[in-house]
Symmetry: C2
Subunit: 343 residues, 2 copies
Amino acid sequence: MITIKEIAQHLGVSPTTVSNVVRGKTKEVSKENIEKIQDYLKKVNYIPNMTARNLAQQKSNIIGVVLKVRKERTTHIFTDPFVAEMLGGIEEVVRKAGYSMMVRISDDIEEILDYVTTWNVDGMILFCMLNDDAIRVQQQFKKPIACVDAYISKEVEDKFGDKFINIALDDEEGVYNCISYLIDNGHRKIGFYSDNIEGVNAARLRGYKRALMDHGIKPTKDDIFKFDPSLKMHDISLNKMIDKAKDYTAVFCTSDMYAVELMNGCILKGINVPDDLSIIGVDDTLISKVARPQLTTLHQSPKEKGKLAAVKIMEFINGENAEEHQIILKSHLVIRDSVKNIK
Amino acid sequence: MITIKEIAQHLGVSPTTVSNVVRGKTKEVSKENIEKIQDYLKKVNYIPNMTARNLAQQKSNIIGVVLKVRKERTTHIFTDPFVAEMLGGIEEVVRKAGYSMMVRISDDIEEILDYVTTWNVDGMILFCMLNDDAIRVQQQFKKPIACVDAYISKEVEDKFGDKFINIALDDEEGVYNCISYLIDNGHRKIGFYSDNIEGVNAARLRGYKRALMDHGIKPTKDDIFKFDPSLKMHDISLNKMIDKAKDYTAVFCTSDMYAVELMNGCILKGINVPDDLSIIGVDDTLISKVARPQLTTLHQSPKEKGKLAAVKIMEFINGENAEEHQIILKSHLVIRDSVKNIK
DNA sequence: TTGAAAGCGCTAACAA
DNA sequence: TTGTTAGCGCTTTCAA
């Protein structure tokens, strides 16, 4: 690759002048030099060395997109329609802003911090941060951060500066509505199905419990099914769940993907959905529409979440500050065919 | 961030010695220095500056993962289960090899070349390269390349050096088998449904045509439905397709995603699958199992394709050479419920 | 075993 | 308007 220095030598000008032309800072360059240099740049197809540029400018032009997920989920995290849509939203904004996206999957916040530090990313978009993580991140990472579905306390949140935002959903409220809807349709034995009950899903669990209690139903620990999404355990967990499902008339699942997998497993085992079991999911991604029966689900827009996070990061980088630390999007229930009225 | 120089000064040793310890090149460092330096590194939580390291070493530790897709597909490329699974396969291998993944979506080969050049990526994984692209890539990009589903001529292929591989599928043969299966089940009016007929899909189209002709059916241009996958056009294209579908007893779709969307559209319009229309897809991703009826589809393993591409790139970087320019994986038909025997 | 010095390719402060 | 110079943080020769 040809360098600025070589070009400068060849044309008998200084590297600064060439550099200025390359970067379009042509106010201080004479017309004849601009033309001469531009012609030559094109002729030799000059392409700047990003590494050198970044070192000189103490930045990276990289946005670190970090998916903090537990090991069991790593292998198929991209195939979760929620994540896929979110990434699509992020990618577009980041690319159009002239930045590059580095995607990192990890379940270890220390590793993540090392990663974004060593690459000196200009901003980080962090998916699924928990409270303890947030404390560490806040201590160590001093660049713009946008979170999607971080679930952290008000106190920790307030420790972050002006370059922090969390894009969230009204999870508790949304799930409250889902469960209320089930109850309105005559369901009293309602399961809660998730791969974890941290962060966002803790909020959802609260909504679930509150809805039950408000309708005079006492939630028990047994009603919460935590399953292992790793490839190995997947079918085992699923079958366990299906066995238990017979004791229920409805199950709330914390994502469309899990809902649809459960539904599929049930149907294959002769449990009819929704006649024998009603199912509700979350996300309203493509999969909920193509599944049969079509899935009743709590709508949110993963793509919008991703886009918004990316837009905010760009604003932060460009000097704007966050006016608030949280943006809470509104969910709504999309009623399709996977819930039966059993009144 | 603390630098090697500062550490050296503080400890009264040279930057070289610190650098050697950081990189584990401790053969030439005295034990007392090793210990002293390691302790201090830990104490100050030293994290190397990747940019500086890369500039000095003339490499990047980056693998460029490039999705070359037409503009209409950009917005939801990650949500295609094929792409999602493939990315998952790539990510794992790349990460475990100590590299970082930069994902770039573009439909312009010149832009792609500029991108990987400016970032000085150590290797590129390229999805969906066409013949003309390949010529340009071969001219300009002299680092290891692994392609997934590139479709290029033997001559162009041979112009690449020892650091090139293409991971492909026996597309023509596979689709030949799909169509033969349909014909065996009594179908004679069979449509071909795709968003493009370049590259891989050109091979599939050949398989389609050959199967028809071998069974005495003359394929016509009208039987090929090209639709526009952009968000705007999506429903319009789909409806057009569905209108035409009445003239057919079966449709072959070039991906599960499209197959499932078509199936869904048909069902919503009162066209029963498979009673009124049989459908076959390609990929055998999750979506084909959760759709109803379950989709009969040509199985391949996107994840394996991705993994293999990434493994090959790493081998190339580590000095190994390609023994062949193509690895052709075997597909096979997975028979589920979306095809009806109408004999 | 250690360290001085040059260099990776670019930018930016400052002088001319 | 142009060019000189130093420097970004690291690695790598090579001499001590």
